[in-house]
Amino acid sequence: MATLTYREAVARGIAQEMARDERVLLIGEDVAEAGGVFKTTQGLRERFGPRRVRDTPISEEAITGMVMGAAMNGLRPIGEIMFSDFLATCWDIVANQIAKTRYMTGGQIELPLVLRSANGGGARFGGQHSQSVENWAMAIPGLKVVAPSTPVDVVGLMAAAIRDPNPVVFLEHKALFATKGEVPDGELVDTLGRAATVRQGDHATIVALAAMVPKAIEAADLLGREGISADVIDLRTLVPLDVTAVATSVAKTGRLFTVEENPRLCGWGAEVASIVAEECFWDLDGPIVRITTPHIPLPAADAIEDMAIPSVNRVVETVRASMQ
């Protein structure tokens, strides 16, 4: 058992799979010599050599397109898109090519690839380097979407993503890079599509993802002291979505709250809320409430960025007010 930071866990997960399978390669901007701008790929080039860990030009369409082409031809490549905001610069390759090719070719083309990217706000980087775009990816049929909240999940889900025969968008949260957690020694391989219930309670279900998970946990702890006990569900992956975990919890608690960082409209919270409003309607004892970033770009100044992203306080107050 070791204590790793979330950022170290990224490198650990990739290294585990690169050591196991020589078809796994990593490309991206500054991933090799520099070890990544977030130091998430540190040491990989030294360990696996300059051909398997390679720096690219600033050419996101080339990075994603090449990862796709290589996956068609016997590799299991990983492409890094430095900030998830930049996925927009290669969205055609991601959403129209990578996601659709298996279906459109009647299953002829398999694309075992991973696109990794640093997602989310809280770093005072401003509107073009802070977005949470997990909902962009979730809205595209053919992409799996992973967004872990702890170092151990990073390692295990990274391994699962790399081994998955489908394209996976793997979102690492910038605000979590420095967080630490225990990671068992040896090979770790998790399963995509399983949520984790990280707190147990009876009165409410709080569903969260990535950097919102620790906030939801803290909020649940505070609410617990007031007599409102909540299940906190860490979705971990958006596609496949663990509807069973959410539905089971809502059947018990009767109330659903989602805590999401992406801007309000059409986020994953809307999807989860809609599923529950359809499939678990008769279990509900009150409104489904989404706690989100407002529908704005994230501002740079710390004073207002902190107001935009859901806070522990906002979760506590929203749940409390809604449960009264």
Partner: protein, 343 residues
């Protein structure tokens, strides 16, 4: 493809001997097979059996015929929505292509792809891509994998003149050059992007060749209606790529006989231009050359007839094939064969 000249790809630049008669006959046959295929697609589109849209390669057959003949069996091809010629000549069975165009379960993509997405991975026809420019980096990636795995494969990537103005072209050519990838980029310059003359939207006269230097590459222009010239150019570029010499960017100058897509009559093109290019029909030119080289007219006629017989049989088979049913709709999104996003 199996009788592609196995020695062809071992040739270095400038060292091509005469093209063997069997190779010539094969290229003649290839062009005719493509020609009758597209003619039939046009008729079926006009009669409403091919639905949606279709982009014919008629007039541009020499490019696909020359390249496919020069390739090694396991070389890969990436092409566009105007990809029938390439997919067919790479080896995809005519009836599976026709089945796809008619939206049948027998289609190469089970009916899910349609005219713009013909694909036959078994034949290394790695797909037809319908968004301009997108397949250029994908082709680079396939080539990268060949290089890493040491398979000796070369990837050929075909696209149009209009494609040279989109960003993905630039990113792909640059990284292919920097990583010295075994990929051959072939711009089929047919003078138009849809209805717009390429010269009116492009900063240089030769949209591909005049950009080669921007990637440290040699400018290469070939008469895309002369199948022998294409074949020789292809051999050189494939050899270069296969022997570690890196990518090429080739501009093949050609013309489409039909409009851009569907029933477009192509009226935006001056009559004299169309007529001049019709006189340069690659099939007519090549028949004249083969006759002057002593090929028997009856042998050539037979090639044409075989192509006609093949397309008739393929059409009949496709028409008889069933349409895909509900069971097909929700398959093949994921590698497990299904389309479920939930647990």
């Amino acid at each position: 493809m199996s009788d592609a000249p196995s020695n062809g790809t071992a040739l270095g630049p400038g060292s091509h001997p005469e093209i063997a008669p069997s190779v010539r006959l094969k290229m003649y046959s290839s062009m005719w097979r493509a020609r009758v295929f597209e003619k039939r697609v046009y008729d079926l589109f006009m009669s409403g059996l091919v639905k949606g849209t279709t982009h014919l390669g008629t007039g541009q057959e020499a490019v696909a015929a020359g390249f496919s003949t020069a390739m090694r069996d396991d070389d890969m091809v990436f092409c566009t929505y105007r990809g029938h010629n390439h997919t067919l000549l790479r080896g995809a069975p005519m009836d599976s292509l026709m089945g796809e165009l008619l939206g049948r379960e027998s289609g190469c993509c089970g009916g899910k792809g349609g005219s713009m997405h013909l694909t036959d991975v078994e034949q290394h026809a790695m797909g037809s891509y319908a968004i301009v420019g997108a397949h250029l980096p994908v082709a680079a990636g396939a080539a990268w994998a060949s290089a890493e795995r040491g398979t000796g494969q070369v990837t050929a990537c075909f696209f149009g003149d209009g494609t040279t103005n989109i960003g993905a072209f630039h990113e792909s050519l640059n990284i292919a050059a920097v990583w010295n990838l075994p990929v051959v980029y072939v711009c089929e310059n047919n003078l138009y992007m849809e209805y717009t003359p390429i010269s009116s939207v492009t900063a240089v006269p030769n949209p591909a060749a005049d950009r080669a230097a921007a990637y440290g590459l040699e400018p290469i222009i070939v008469d895309g209606n002369d199948v022998d010239a294409v074949y020789r150019t292809a051999l050189t570029a494939l050899h270069r790529a296969r022997s570690g010499g890196g990518p090429s960017l080739i501009e093949a100058q050609t013309y489409r006989h039909h409009g851009h897509s569907r029933a477009d009559p192509g009226k935006y093109r001056p009559d004299e231009e169309v007529e001049a290019w019709m006189r340069k029909d690659p099939l007519i030119l090549y028949r004249a050359r083969l006759e002057s080289l002593g090929f028997a007219a009856s042998d050539l006629d037979q090639v044409e007839e075989a192509a006609r017989a093949e397309i008739d049989a393929a059409t009949a088979a496709a028409k008889e094939a069933p349409e895909p049913g509900e069971a097909v709709l929700m398959t093949d999104l994921w590698a497990d064969g299904g389309a479920s996003w939930r647990r």
